[in-house]
Amino acid sequence: MAPPPVRRRKLAWTPARVGVYGFLIVAALFFLLPLYVMLITSVKPMEEIRLGTLFALPVKATLEPWLQAWSSACTGLECGGIRSGFWNSVAIVVPSTILSIAIGAVNGYALSFWRPRGAGVLFAILMMGAFIPVQVMVYPLVRVLASVNLFSSLPGIVLIHTIFGMPVMTLLFRNYYAGLPMELFKAARIDGGGFWRIFLQLMLPMSTPVIVVAVIMQVTGIWNDFLLGLVFAGSEHLPMTVQLNNIINTTTGERLYNVNMAATILTSLVPLALYFISGRWFVRGIASGAVKG
C-alpha cells in the first residue's frame, strides 16, 4: 500500500547544481584570464612576447624576469629591482592602516552612539570629500604638511593615508555600529563606562567583522597607492609601488613586459596573501553577523 519512496533529495547533481557550478566556473575563468596572461607573460622571454601570441604558453619558460623584477630591474640609476621598496611599503602600510582604522572606528562610534553636535555635518562634508579627485588635493596638502614640517616624512605619509582613508573608514564603522543594539551602549553607560572605556572594552572587541573588511580595504588601497607615497613619503620612504611604476611606466625607454608582469604580481602578493588569510575570518565575521547578546 505504501507508494514507492521518493528518492533522497540530498544527492547533489541536479541540473540546477550543475548550472551553479557552470556559472561559477565560467565566472572564475573570466576573472582568472588576465592573471593567466600575466603569469605566462612573466615567464616568457621578450622574443616570444614580441610575437604577439598572447595566450600561448611559453615555448621556453624562464624565471629570469622574476629574478630581474625582484632584484635587478632598473628604476632609474638604481638597478635593484622592487625588492628595496618592500620594507618601506610595510613601514607605511602598517601604521597607516592602524591609524586610519582607529580613527575611522572612533568616528563611527562617536557618530553612532554619542552623536556630538555638528558631527553629522562634519561627516556629510567628509563624504563629499570622498568624491574629490585625489590629485586636486595634493597641492594644497603639500602646503599644509610643509607648514607643519611633516612633508616628505614617514609621519607625513601616514597622516595623508589617514586623511584619505577617513571618509570610507568612517562610513564603514558608522554603518556597522548603527546595526548594533543601542541597548548594549546604554547598559555600558549605566555601568558607568565613559567614552573611551566603552569603545575600547566593549565596542572594539565586537568589531572584528568590520575590522577585517576595513583592513582588507586599507591594506589594499595603501599598498597599491603610488601617487601619495611618491609625493608625501620623501625619498627615503618611497613605497614599493613607486619602483613598480618606475619599472612599468617608461615614457621613451624600452619596455620589458615580462619583467613588468612579474613585478606587478610580486607587488600584489601582500594584499593577495591578506585575502587568503583573512578570507576565513571574513566569512566567520560575516556569519556571526550582528552579534546577538
Partner: protein, 361 residues
C-alpha cells in the same frame, strides 16, 4: 534605597510626544510595576529615569535629589534591559563585574558581590561562559545579576521575562519577589504581561499612549478599574462589557439595555447620579454565574460558543446577542457548546463607566 519622583515629565522622540506630562511617585523600597500595551511608552519612561533618554521637560527626582540631567552612572540605579543587552564578548563574570571594574571597586569587593549575585541566581557554573552559549533564561539571569552587583538603590526592569517560557517565567517571578525582599531596593518593573504585573507589584501603574491611566494596588486596579481601558486590559479574559443606560427608579438604580436590566443600587458611585445616563457596565468573567436556562428573573440566556479548558478552570464564551461574554467555571459540570445557558451577573462586583468619557462612575 531611594524614592523616585517624576514630575510633569514630557518626552519627545523624533517629533512624537511619547510621554506627556507624567507624574509618578514611587516610595523608597517599593515594588512598582508599569503595565501597558506595546508601544505605550513604558521603556521610554524607564530609560528616562535611568538617564538614557533626555527629557524634554519636567523633573526626575531620585532619593530626594533632582537627577533630571545627571549622568546615568551617578543616579544610583541599575537597569535590566528588555533585550538583555549582555556584552557579547565578555563572559558571565566579566559581564557582571564590568561596571564595578570601571568604578575602580576593589577586587575583593567585586568578587564578593559577584559571588553573592551568582549564588542568588544560581549562576555559579556558568560564570565562564559567553552569552552566546547561554539559554534565554540563563541570559536573563545574567542580566539581572549585572543589575544586582551594582547594589543600586533603585532597580529598573524592562520586561525582563518576556522572552521566557511559562514555567521559567513563573520561577523567575518568584525569585524576583524574593530578591526584592532580600535587597530591599526600590524596584520599577515594566511589563505588558498582566500576570507578572499582578503578582509582582505592590502598586502598579497602567499606562496607555504615554499617560498613566491608574496607579494603585493590583487588587484595587483589578476590582475597580478607573476607566474602560484598564478594565479590558486587565484580566484574562478581560472584563465583559455591556452598553446601556443607568437611571434612578425610586430608590433603586437600574442599569438596562435592549436585552437586560440589572439593579445596581449597591454600587458605590463616586458622585450621586442624576437623570438617565449612558454608561457601560463591566463585569469580570469570574463574577458571572451560569446555570440552566430556565427563564428565571434577573437571569439571561445565551448560547455557548466555545469552552476553553484551562486545567484548573474553564472559560466559557457565550454568544449574547452578538457580543461574546466570557465566564469562568470552576467545577467539573458538563457544558456543551451551542447549547443555551443562563448567566447572571454578581451585581456587587460590577464596574460602571461613563459612556462618553469612559471613566469610572
Amino acid at each position: 534605597m531611594s524614592n523616585v519622583a517624576i514630575r510633569n515629565l514630557q518626552i519627545q522622540l523624533g517629533g512624537n510626544k511619547v510621554i506627556e506630562s507624567l507624574n509618578l511617585d514611587v516610595k523608597a523600597g517599593e515594588f512598582v510595576v508599569l503595565l501597558g500595551p506595546s508601544g505605550c511608552g513604558k521603556s521610554t519612561l524607564l530609560h528616562s529615569i535611568a538617564g538614557l533618554i533626555d527629557t524634554t521637560s519636567g523633573q526626575i527626582e531620585i532619593g530626594g535629589k533632582d537627577m533630571t540631567w545627571a549622568d546615568p552612572k551617578d543616579r544610583g540605579i541599575a537597569l535590566v534591559f528588555q533585550s538583555y543587552a549582555l556584552y557579547p564578548t565578555m563572559n558571565v563574570e566579566a559581564n557582571m563585574s564590568f561596571g564595578l571594574r570601571i568604578n575602580g571597586t576593589p577586587k575583593e569587593e567585586i568578587a564578593r558581590r559577584v559571588s553573592r549575585a551568582s549564588d542568588m541566581l544560581q549562576l555559579g557554573p556558568l560564570l565562564k561562559r559567553k552569552p552566546a552559549n547561554l539559554s534565554g533564561g540563563q541570559r536573563q539571569r545574567v542580566a539581572i545579576g549585572r543589575a544586582i552587583v551594582r547594589e543600586a538603590d533603585v532597580m529598573l526592569f524592562d520586561e525582563p521575562l518576556s522572552n521566557l517560557d511559562a514555567k521559567l517565567r513563573t520561577e523567575l517571578r518568584r525569585e524576583l519577589k524574593q530578591l526584592h525582599k532580600q535587597l530591599g531596593a526600590t524596584m520599577i518593573y515594566v511589563t505588558h504581561d498582566q500576570v507578572e504585573a499582578m503578582t509582582l507589584a505592590q502598586r502598579m501603574a497602567v499606562m496607555k499612549g504615554g499617560v498613566v491611566q491608574q496607579f494603585d494596588t493590583p487588587a484595587n486596579i483589578y476590582n475597580e478599574p478607573a476607566n474602560l481601558f484598564v478594565a479590558t486590559f486587565l484580566g484574562s479574559p478581560g472584563m465583559n462589557l455591556f452598553k446601556g443606560a443607568i437611571e434612578r427608579q425610586g430608590d433603586r438604580t437600574i442599569f438596562s439595555n435592549q436585552h437586560m436590566s440589572l439593579d445596581v443600587s449597591g454600587y458605590p458611585f463616586k458622585q450621586p447620579l442624576a437623570g438617565k445616563h449612558d454608561c457601560v457596565l463591566g463585569v469580570r468573567p469570574e463574577d458571572i454565574d451560569v446555570g440552566n436556562c430556565d427563564g428565571a428573573d434577573n437571569v439571561v440566556c445565551a448560547s455557548v460558543s466555545l469552552v476553553e479548558a484551562m486545567g484548573a478552570h474553564r472559560v466559557l464564551w457565550l454568544d449574547f446577542h452578538g457580543t461574546q461574554v466570557a465566564g469562568i467555571v470552576q467545577d467539573q459540570q458538563h457544558i456543551e457548546t451551542d447549547k443555551d445557558i443562563s448567566f447572571s451577573i454578581r451585581s456587587k462586583r460590577i464596574s460602571l463607566f461613563d459612556g462618553a468619557s469612559e471613566q469610572r462612575l
